[in-house]
């Protein structure tokens, strides 16, 4: 379509600043194709239907506009013009009957100062050339003003005091008074500008807290004054979705956090949950208390040992599949339920908070719309050299020292021929020769190794920049009978090691309005996930005892793959010349190609629902959801993989009669496959009650649901597998086979496993809310859950959870006359939620593990020990909050305080295991309280040309153990392990950082010194053993951050916006790694603290790193690695992302509603780091070396039509 445009608005002052409206009224002709399941052809014309061609008109001195209006109605042709042109037109007198529009037009315009052009079905009215100042041709004018299609309308909106209203909405109403999609909002000074407003249309101007008004569109609407109306606040009616009901946030008493699609999309994580922690007030990703994977915590911990993962709901029901299946582009909004009133409706699994994901849904009476978004991201290679390590040369010196001390003698003589490093091989060779030439060669080789760093090889051969892409097409449309939306998405996530995940998603949601009282919902959501493994990364290649020497080489100078020792000595393997044996060496550069893990899974969610208005105030709904996930993971190790060759060789046996080698494990590949299947059925019946009179409003829910979730998996392993023709060979798993090298015997692991689990739940629930005069509200909710847990009577299986709440909207009171505070609500709730863990049972239960290879009979292990005292954990939460809006919405937010009291919490506690239980068992051991504050604030800092808005989350969370039933003072249980287990000490935090008291280093030999009974001592075993008490330890503080949150800013100028977000964590401790000489000697694991070690007398004044001694001082590492100097503060500020976006101004002929381009940089690193060691506290896993995630650059294009 083309427009011939003549538009001119002489003498109209331009607003100083305006924003393009992203929504634009256009004539849309669409032809869309969605390959999998939809083919749609759709055609729409805004002005009229396309059939009428003939017109009849009888007018006497009618105004030109009224004539045009009549013609438009009859013909279906659209008129495009600037009303100013019609000012000089003469009244029209005409009498035509059934004339073609094209014949009628010359009659209409005869003798008028304007002319017209017709293009397709659009009639553009233009002034006759002589009336234009400067006498330019219409074509020339067009070239200068390509965008202006319809006249512009501009104006300003102020309140009764003359203050500009910022962000007031201005909507265009059509001739029938219905809202069109054309709308805008006022800028920082109250001005607005709309383009393409057809003549005669009205503008609907509204602003929160003010009485809206309609004005007739004109080039200059002038200043519109809105009167304030304190009792009308419908504009901010944000709906929160609890998974059971949609309720206006205004009426809620509980604690909800809403995150909209826009903000979610400022991040690029493949898994939508990963985007939440830094956006959500009160949520934190802890990577300190639990190992590397981390845990998502909502308002800190509410349990000591129980599960801390929040419950995830997708479209009204718990999502049982892998959340990674969900396409983030399909998510419309996220609601996080933080307190008991919000979460108690979810009962037994809600103690850790609930995350409710809502997928996109169409609304009725909506024209077809299409959204397309595409994201491409590139991740840098990791900075391996940021790791603080002992370099190759010094490692070689250490090994030489060990060699000279006979450390390797036992290893060299061992019949199992364990691996020794290339250096040790050289040293052995050197010891066996007297030939000076050979000695020289060996020394040259050692010197060459000194200069190597395996990290170079890793970066060169293993790491590539990571790549991620995600494309999604979304369609939506609705009539008054049927609304539907559909999306198709495809994503690829290939990390820096080539591990690749492919995800395809298809979603359809629909709603049928069968009658005024009956609605039916239906939908499905299918995702296909495929992933395959890539190259081994740093830390994945282990020569021996989980270590790799730093001078390892993956390729020679020509790039040919070199073997790296694995399990057995290379020099020994070279003596195995039997041609029947397979090559026994491991080639890192080749091996991953022959050792592939692949996974496929399909997740399907089917939903159906029915909503029936029984009475005006009573609604019945029935929902059913079915989820299933099928997965197949395979590990194929072809005969070319080390694993397969090693297994074949390992059991090779020489037949004493024939002298031939026999292979109990046949030569061939190995295929391990696991099939798993998950199914979940959810049925819910619910009555919703809603009754309202002038002053009273009652809302209630009563329902019941049944859930059943089952999971099965099955693994097996094929030997002698040939992927070419799917053959395999059976092997004898029933007897032991002799190891070829050591002569020992062992069973061949079968790789067979079977599991089947099922969880059933029946629940009933009710909730209600009463509101008086729209300002006082009281709410309650109650729920009972029953499940098929073991060892409980049916009565005990039912668990009640409940909550009550109240709120008061002060700003609605008559006495409220604050010009500062527009809105103020206070609210309070109290309630209880539970924590349920099916693995904790009060009876002796056994678990069938498999077949005992020794006697071929099934065997079972005790899973739980009889403990009649076991009870459920309960967590009761009190929440107090205020919601506010200040300075005409320039500052909006909420401030909440909460108190969580956990009772009968499970704790792992050491017991006298003479009783026969495990040394550490899980019992109800403690009570705790958690207290905190969550502040969330949105501010508009500047209006005008440069708009700056901020979003701030500040959370404070502190917890402490209030009661610990079992006194355990043993120091080791407060300190041992790579992470800090929960510590049961009253009035101390739940997760604590303790360390051994440090007395420095011995000035004589640099040995670490501690305290034994107050005296400086080296009796490490005494003060780290069972005799040591927690009172001997140094208490540092908690290991979860006390203060945390994020700070996001958005700067907008014209169509550009920059947003960036920082996250921060303050006031917590972590234990950092240091050199451990036993790991240095045994596994080449050299922490860079090696260089700061004590080396001579006097060093003890400047360092805390003990001297290197061989053999290691017995018990010393259990002491110093856990002593004071290695506990650091974790406080830091991290720059999470920067997002540049540009909303491309749209030309009408593009037929687009929106075209946004954004460029995003993620993982920008630390802006502030408190600890002196320079360790990233979130990625400093104590037991392994941590690397901060590398920077990701991404480009996103979003387009809507």
């Amino acid at each position: 379509m083309n427009y011939f445009i003549h538009a001119h608005a002489p003498g109209v002052p331009k607003p100083r600043f305006y924003r393009m409206s992203i929504e634009r009224l256009t004539h849309v002709v669409l032809l869309m194709k969605l390959t999998t399941f939809l083919i749609l052809a759709f055609s729409l014309s805004v002005s009229a239907t396309a059939t009428a061609q003939k017109v009849s008109l009888r007018v006497d001195h009618a105004s030109m506009p009224s004539v045009l209006k009549a013609l438009r109605k009859q013909s279906g042709y659209a008129f495009v013009y600037n009303p100013a042109y019609l000012k000089g037109t003469k009244p029209v007198t005409l009498d035509i009957t059934e004339k073609d529009i094209l014949e009628a037009l010359p009659l209409v315009f005869a003798g008028q100062p304007v002319d017209y052009t017709v293009n397709d079905k659009v009639i553009t009215i233009v002034p006759k050339p002589h009336s234009i100042s400067g006498g330019r041709t219409s074509e020339a004018h067009l070239a200068e003003n390509p965008i202006l299609a319809y006249p512009e309308v501009h104006g300003r909106v102020v309140d009764s005091l003359g203050n500009p209203l910022v962000g007031a909405s201005v909507r265009v109403l059509n001739a029938e008074g219905k809202r069109t999609t054309l709308q805008t909002k006022t800028d920082g000074d109250g001005y607005f500008l709309l383009r393409n407003v057809p003549d005669g249309y009205q503008l609907e101007i509204s602003y929160i807290g003010h009485v809206g008004t309609n004005v007739v569109a004109a080039a200059d609407v002038g200043t519109v004054v809105l009167q304030s109306a304190p009792s009308e606040l419908e504009e901010v009616e944000v709906m929160v979705n609890t998974g059971y009901q949609q309720l206006p946030k205004e009426r809620a008493t509980g604690s909800f956090v809403q995150i909209d699609n826009e903000r979610l999309n400022e991040q690029i994580q493949f898994n939508v949950l990963d985007r939440l922690p830094i956006l959500t007030s009160g949520m934190v990703m802890d990577r300190n208390a639990k190992l590397s994977s981390g845990q998502m915590l909502v308002r800190g911990v509410g349990t000591i040992l129980g599960n801390t993962t929040p419950l995830v709901i997708l479209d009204n029901f718990p999502y049982e599949g892998d959340v990674g299946n969900i396409n983030p582009d399909d998510i419309e909004s996220v609601t996080v339920l933080r307190d008991a009133a919000a979460a108690s409706i979810w009962g037994a699994k809600a103690a850790n908070g609930v995350i409710v994901l809502t997928s996109k849904k169409a609304k009725p009476n909506q024209k077809i719309s299409a959204n397309f978004s595409t994201l491409t991201a590139i991740q840098e290679k990791p900075d391996l050299f940021a790791l603080d390590l002992v370099n190759s040369s010094d490692m070689i010196d250490v090994e030489q020292m060990l060699f000279e001390n006979g450390y390797h003698t036992g290893i060299i003589n061992s019949v199992s021929r364990p691996a020794v490093s290339p250096l040790v091989e050289l040293l052995i060779k050197k010891g066996n020769t007297t030939d000076p030439e050979e000695v020289g060669d060996i020394e040259r080789e050692i010197n060459r190794l000194r200069k190597r760093d395996v990290r170079d090889d890793f970066l060169r051969y293993m790491y590539r920049p990571g790549l991620q892409s995600q494309n999604t097409l979304n369609l939506a449309m609705g009539t008054n009978r049927f609304a539907w939306n559909a999306s198709a998405g495809h994503g690829i996530n290939r990390n820096d090691l080539g591990n690749e995940t492919n995800r395809s998603n298809f979603l359809v949601n629909s709603r049928m309005y069968i009658s005024k009282r009956l609605r039916i919902d239906g939908g499905f959501n299918v995702s296909f996930l495929r992933s395959k493994s890539g190259r081994p990364g740093y830390g994945d290649i282990n020569a021996y005892s989980n270590g790799l020497f730093p001078y390892a080489e993956f390729a020679d100078a020509e790039g040919n793959a070199l073997p790296v020792i694995m399990n057995n000595r290379l020099s020994y393997l070279e003596t195995l010349t039997d041609p029947e044996l397979l090559d026994w060496k491991y080639y890192p550069l080749e091996d991953y190609k022959h050792n592939r893990n692949t996974q496929r899974s399909t997740h399907v969610t089917l939903t159906s629902g029915l909503e029936f208005d029984l009475l005006k105030w009573l609604k019945l709904s029935v929902n059913y959801q079915f989820q299933t996930q099928r997965g197949l993971s395979e590990n194929l190790q072809t005969i070319d993989s080390y694993e397969a060759r090693n297994t074949v060789n390992m059991y090779a046996k020489r037949n004493p009669q024939t002298g031939e080698l026999e292979f109990p494990v046949p030569k061939g590949g190995m295929l391990t496959s696991t099939n798993d299947a998950m199914q979940a059925h959810n049925i819910r019946g619910q009555l919703a009650y809603h009754w309202q009179s002038n002053d009273h409003e009652v809302v209630g829910l009563l329902g019941s649901e049944v859930r059943s979730h089952s999971f099965q998996n099955k693994s097996d392993k094929l030997f002698g597998y040939n992927p070419e023709n799917l053959t395999h060979t059976l092997i004898d798993l029933t007897r032991q086979h002799t190891y070829f090298i050591s002569g020992g015997q062992a069973f061949i692991p079968s790789g067979i496993a079977l599991n089947q689990r099922k969880n059933n739940f029946i629940s009933t629930y009710a909730n209600g809310a009463y509101t008086y005069r729209q300002r006082y509200a009281a709410t309650f909710s109650a729920r009972r859950d029953a499940s098929n847990l073991f060892g409980l009577n049916v009565n005990d299986k039912w668990n009640p959870f409940w909550s009550v709440g109240a709120s008061w909207e002060l700003s609605k009171e008559d006495f409220w006359h604050s010009s500062m505070v527009d809105y103020l609500k206070i609210r309070a709730t109290y309630g209880s939620t539970g924590n349920l863990d099916p693995s904790k049972v009060a009876l002796t239960t056994i678990r069938y593990v498999g077949t005992n290879p020794y006697n071929q009979l099934p065997y079972a292990q005790v899973q739980t020990y009889v403990n009649p005292e076991l009870k459920w954990e309960t967590v009761s939460t009190t929440n107090v909050g205020i919601d506010f809006s200040l300075l005409r919405q320039r500052i909006k937010g909420s401030l909440e305080g909460y108190l969580k009291v956990g009772k009968d919490l499970y704790g792992s506690t050491p017991v006298d295991y003479t009783g026969g239980t495990d040394p550490i068992i899980i019992k109800n051991v403690a009570s705790m309280i958690g207290r905190g504050i969550d502040l969330e604030m949105n501010t508009m800092n500047t209006g005008g040309v440069l708009r700056w808005s901020s979003h701030l989350n500040v959370s404070l969370n502190r917890d402490k153990v209030t009661d610990y039933y079992l006194k355990n003072e043993s120091a080791s249980s407060y300190i041992r392990g790579s992470t800090n287990s929960v510590t049961g000490r009253e009035n101390y935090p739940v997760n604590t950082m303790y360390s051994y008291k440090w007395a420095g280093l011995d000035s004589q030999d640099g040995a670490p010194l501690g305290y034994l009974n107050g005296e400086v001592s080296r009796e490490y075993r005494q003060f780290t053993g069972s005799a040591a008490s927690v009172n001997d330890l140094v208490f540092h503080g908690g290991i979860l951050p006390k203060w945390f949150g994020s700070f996001g800013n958005t700067l907008e100028w014209r169509d550009f916006a920059i947003s960036f977000r920082m996250s921060y964590k303050f006031d917590y401790y972590f234990r950092r790694a240091t050199i451990r000489y036993s790991r240095l000697y045994g596994a080449w694991d050299g922490h860079g603290d090696f260089y700061k070690r004590w080396q001579k007398s006097g060093d003890e004044k400047i360092t805390n790193i003990p001297a290197m001694v061989y053999p290691v001082l017995s018990g010393a590492e259990n002491f110093y690695a856990y002593a004071e100097p290695f506990v650091e503060r974790g406080d830091h500020i991290r720059l999470e992302y920067i997002n540049f976006s540009y909303a491309i101004p749209l030309a009408p002929k593009w037929n687009l509603r929106r075209l946004d381009v954004s460029f995003n940089i993620n993982n920008l690193g630390l802006m502030y780091n408190r600890n002196s060691a320079g360790v990233d506290p979130d990625y400093s896993s104590f037991s392994s070396v941590g690397i901060s995630p590398a920077t990701i650059y991404s480009l996103r294009i979003q387009c809507a039509l």
Binding site: I683, G744, K797, P838
Partner: protein
């Protein structure tokens, strides 16, 4: 209206019916509350994986290790056993702790005892019932016995009522406080359980990893030998050898494999192992020189048990009766022959003693023209014969954990053996009847219960 309520009823009714059944489904198909004999049998099958206690083998004087290898031993606990430290020997709070393994096995046995009574014995299940119950009692008695050898002094019949025994656990209530019984009570319980097991267990088990009546006889012979009740040890050893008297003809064993003794060979009665403690492995531990030198020419044990190192020292490659490199500390007929020989001599059955020692050694000697080159003992002074039997015991049963107990009981009877070890120039001495023969009980147990630490 009425139809509406009916509709409601139809909607909600399915939710209310068969609720009970729905909630009684198993959450984990593999998880079971043990109720059947099959469940109990499966529990006893798990005990097969539980090894024995390695402290005795490591503390014994069967071997020494070099300073370099001592430094290279990764287990601090093993190094401390080697030098007979008075305290802090075992890893605490760990599932690898032998204290845990002992009492966890006893817990399993008690679970079986408690449950099997509810099942009840009838004609249909009698043989399985007896077998499972017999296994439970065997485990309880045997685990308690082997624990007492580590943590208690040698049983002394005159003082046993005042000697410290082991805590005795006869039910599954782990909340009960633990305390030490007297050694007499401990041995009463051991013999009671094992003697009951004898009556319940089948003569032989389907697998040598499962207890059988033969195993119970062999274990009882051992128990009474340590108690100094030679009449009974003779009786049990004699009963056993009446039922099973197989011996491996060492002359027919191929000595080329690394571990030449066939696994699960004909001498094995019941398998129990201690893994391969690094400190005892083939290349680190060196067999005590006096012991190596004591083998006579023609004795094949010297060839089959030892691997000669280039420096003249010897590693131990025998005793791997269950395959792999794990050391065997279970029950076998060679030990029973030695028990019968010793008990026979001590109860005045000298001819039996001589015959037993001859039978055993004949199977250990090389053959000339198909006939054992061993020269049988015809007669000997009693004291010499006893010394000979005890020496053969040492030479046959080294690295089987037996030596430590023998040291305890022989010193109790006045053998006056002092152990000495030198590690990096420092000499460690263990005089006869030293309190350290009763190894320290894990410190956390002493702390958390009323279990008394051994006198130090």
């Amino acid at each position: 209206m009425r139809t509406k309520y009916k509709f409601l009823l139809v909607t909600f009714l399915p939710l209310l019916v068969s609720c009970e059944k729905f909630l009684d489904q198993k959450p984990d198909q593999k998880l079971t509350i043990p109720t059947t004999l099959e469940d109990l049998e499966a529990m006893t099958n798990d005990l097969i994986f539980w090894g024995g206690i390695d402290a005795a083998a490591i503390s014994s004087d069967d071997y020494t290790i070099s300073d370099a290898n001592y430094d290279g031993v990764s287990s601090d606990s093993h190094r401390r056993m080697y030098t007979w430290e008075p305290y802090d020997i075992f890893d605490e709070g760990s599932t690898s702790s032998p204290w845990y393994r002992t009492y966890n096995a006893i817990y399993l046995a008690n679970s079986v005892e408690e449950t099997i009574i509810k099942i009840g014995r009838n004609a249909a299940n009698a043989s399985k019932y007896d077998n499972v119950r017999g296994r439970a009692l065997f485990f309880r008695g045997s685990k308690l016995f082997r624990a007492s050898l580590v943590w208690c002094e040698a049983y002394d019949v005159d003082q046993s009522a005042s000697q410290l025994g082991m805590p005795i656990k006869l039910d599954t209530d782990f909340n009960k406080r633990s305390f030490r019984s007297t050694l007499q009570q401990t041995y009463d319980q051991i013999t009671k359980d094992l003697e009951a097991a004898v009556k319940l267990l089948p003569r032989t088990a389907a697998s040598l990893y499962n207890p059988s009546q033969l195993a119970a006889y062999a274990e009882l012979a051992r128990v009474y030998l340590y108690m100094g009740n030679y009449e009974k040890s003779y009786a049990y050893a004699d009963t056993l050898l009446g039922l099973k008297s197989d011996l491996m003809d060492h002359a027919e064993i191929d000595n080329t494999p690394t571990y030449p003794l066939p696994s699960l060979n004909e001498e094995v009665i019941y398998v129990l192992s201690i893994g391969t403690p690094q400190i005892l492995n083939l290349t680190r531990s060196l067999v005590a020189t006096d012991l190596v030198d004591s083998y006579e020419a023609g004795d094949l044990r010297k060839i089959l048990y030892f691997s000669a190192n280039t420096d003249g020292s010897h590693g131990f490659r025998g005793g791997r009766y269950q395959g792999g490199s794990s050391l065997f500390i279970g029950l076998a007929t060679d030990e029973t022959y030695l028990i019968r020989a010793e008990s026979a001599l001590r109860t005045g059955r000298k001819q039996q003693a001589i015959q037993d020692i001859n039978t055993l050694l004949a199977s250990r000697w090389e053959k000339v023209d198909g006939i054992s080159a061993y020269k049988p003992i015809v007669d000997m002074v009693d004291s010499d014969l006893l010394a000979k039997i005890l020496l053969e015991r040492r030479k046959s049963l080294l690295y089987r954990g037996v030596r430590w107990y023998d040291l305890k009981r022989l010193n109790r009877d006045g053998a006056n053996i002092t152990l000495r070890r030198t590690v990096k120039g420092k000499e460690y001495v263990l005089p006869p009847n030293d309190p350290r023969y009763a190894i320290a009980i894990p410190g956390d147990i002493v702390k958390m219960s009323e279990v008394e630490q051994n006198p130090r």
